[in-house]
């Protein structure tokens, strides 16, 4: 398929996704609120930019990132590759023989999260609302570390085969404890940052990694064990964002004491 044909296809698909939202927005605006939108033209141009940007973004991912990312996920989880690094062994593979998989999971989780458009949006809003006290980059890096930890832990879980709900419940317990000690201001934002991490960039790559692992590790089912990585990626950012705020608070306290 030619480049322009592909671009037209993806743009149409994006428009189709946006139509329900536009109908609801303008339906309520004209039917219920019944007031003219300030700078209507600017808003409409903004929508066009969003659709165009998203379509280009998806097209680029489809052309560049996903094929190579999926290929790498397959190659890294290939038992032959893993055996080449672990050395010849008659025994089955042990969990730590998969160390490149964990490193890849960590690195790809962190780097795709930095580029996640919805996280950029929330970080911009949080920065604006907090009057600059929450840095755009601070939040994005905290979330990226959370996703990275979540995905590498999730990959380890698929290899070892421990039940998924142990990890999720343990994560919840940490979140609940942190909630009582973290600065009040950060708590809702931290909860939100769990949901924003997993959209356009992260999910397809992470899903490929999970499925690749579940297919090659003996005794795992792609259908049951391949899932769950996304859940890990949305739980751990909550913990790291609260930790980020706690560390920031601790630092200001300490600098006050030394003054």
């Amino acid at each position: 398929m030619g480049f322009w044909e592909q671009f037209a296809d993806i743009t149409l698909a994006t428009i189709k996704d946006v139509i329900p939202i536009v109908v609801i927005l303008f339906g309520f605006q004209f039917g219920v609120i019944r007031r003219r939108i300030a700078n209507l033209r600017k808003v409409l141009v903004g929508f066009v930019y969003v659709v165009l940007g998203l379509a280009l973004f998806l097209l680029g991912l489809e052309k560049a990132l996903f094929p190579i990312g999926r290929l790498m996920a397959e190659q890294l989880t290939d038992p032959d590759f893993i055996r080449a690094w672990s050395g010849p062994s008659d025994m089955g593979l042990r969990w730590y023989d998969y160390f490149w998989v964990y490193i890849f999971a960590f690195a790809i989780g962190a780097s795709t999260t930095i580029a996640e458009p919805s996280l950029i949006a929330v970080a911009m809003k949080a920065n604006e609302v907090s009057g600059g006290s929450i840095g755009v980059w601070g939040l994005r890096i905290a979330v990226a570390i959370g996703v990275a930890i979540g995905i590498s832990l999730g990959a380890w879980r698929i290899v070892t085969g421990y039940p998924i709900y142990w990890f999720i419940i343990a994560g919840y317990i940490i979140v609940v404890i942190q909630t009582f000690f973290a600065p009040k201001m950060i708590v809702p934002l931290a909860y939100d940052s769990g949901g924003v991490t997993t959209s356009t960039v992260t999910v397809p790559l992470v899903a490929a990694l999970g499925l690749g692992l579940a297919e090659t590790v003996p005794g795992r089912s792609a259908l049951i064990d391949g899932f769950g990585l996304i859940a890990f990626a949305s739980l751990f950012p909550i913990i790291t964002v609260m930790a980020y705020a706690q560390i920031a608070e601790l630092r200001t306290k300490r600098s006050k004491i030394t003054d």
Partner: protein, 233 residues
């Protein structure tokens, strides 16, 4: 443009490192890769530009108008419609629902026939869409009343944990994942602007404490509803 380049640099580094150093293979199809990368950079730049021109202002101004109008019914209806409307057509959700139907069929919960799977998948989709609508309504009510978020979220977690022990094993992974897939790239900025806008236009609400949290509700409630769906079907 420069910002987008910087945002994408880590991915390029990670892929290059693993491809060249770890896997020790050449980069395939370099030209397509470069074109794709330029598209991603341009796309991200446009998206962020459009965000500040279109999505943020309209989300904020509608929140302000609803707060000024003071009609609870229309605001909640709007919240529900936004939640359902943005979720029901979400491509990621359609994909997950189809896979979930396969899992259910393989686990013997429903018949192996395509018809039964199709019904199961669309039932699941509507369940998730309804749950997101419900979550946004609950989240908007929370902002209006100023309820503290942690009790609702912790209560939700407790429910998830309890249901995990009773839900069929096959559905648990999907239920956990379904929370993450519901919040798309266009929904997130819009819903965030709505929440922050509402909290800033109502007296006594702090946009930082009360404005965020809608996304958290929208990612938690599908887990509960999907497990319930798995238990009932």
């Amino acid at each position: 443009m420069l910002g987008s380049l910087r945002d994408l640099a880590p991915i390029v580094l990670v892929i290059a490192f693993f491809q060249l150093v770890v896997l020790q293979q050449p980069i395939p199809d370099f030209f397509n890769l470069l074109v794709g990368f330029l598209c991603v950079v341009a796309g991200l730049t446009f998206f962020i530009y459009g965000l500040e021109m279109g999505l943020f202002p309209i989300g904020g101004s509608m929140a302000y108008e609803f707060a000024r109008k003071g009609s609870l019914f229309w605001l909640l209806l709007f919240a529900f419609a936004l939640g359902v409307g943005t979720t029901v057509a979400e491509p990621a959700l359609i994909a997950v629902a189809a896979e979930a139907a396969q899992v259910a069929a393989a686990g013997g919960m429903i018949a192996m026939e395509p018809q039964a799977q199709l019904e199961y998948a669309s039932g699941l989709r509507y369940t998730v869409a309804f749950s997101v609508g419900f979550a946004i309504v609950l989240g908007v009510l929370r902002i209006l009343k100023g309820w503290p978020i942690q009790y609702i979220i912790i209560g939700g977690y407790l429910l998830v944990v309890i249901m995990t022990f009773f839900a069929p094993k096959e559905i648990i992974g999907i239920a956990y994942d379904s929370g993450g897939v519901t919040t798309s790239t266009i929904t997130v900025p819009l819903v965030t602007a709505l929440g922050v806008g509402l909290a800033s236009s109502i007296k006594g609400r702090n946009p930082m404490i009360d404005g965020f949290g809608l996304i958290a509700f929208a990612s938690l409630s599908p887990m509960i509803f999907v497990m319930a769906y798995g238990m009932l079907m």
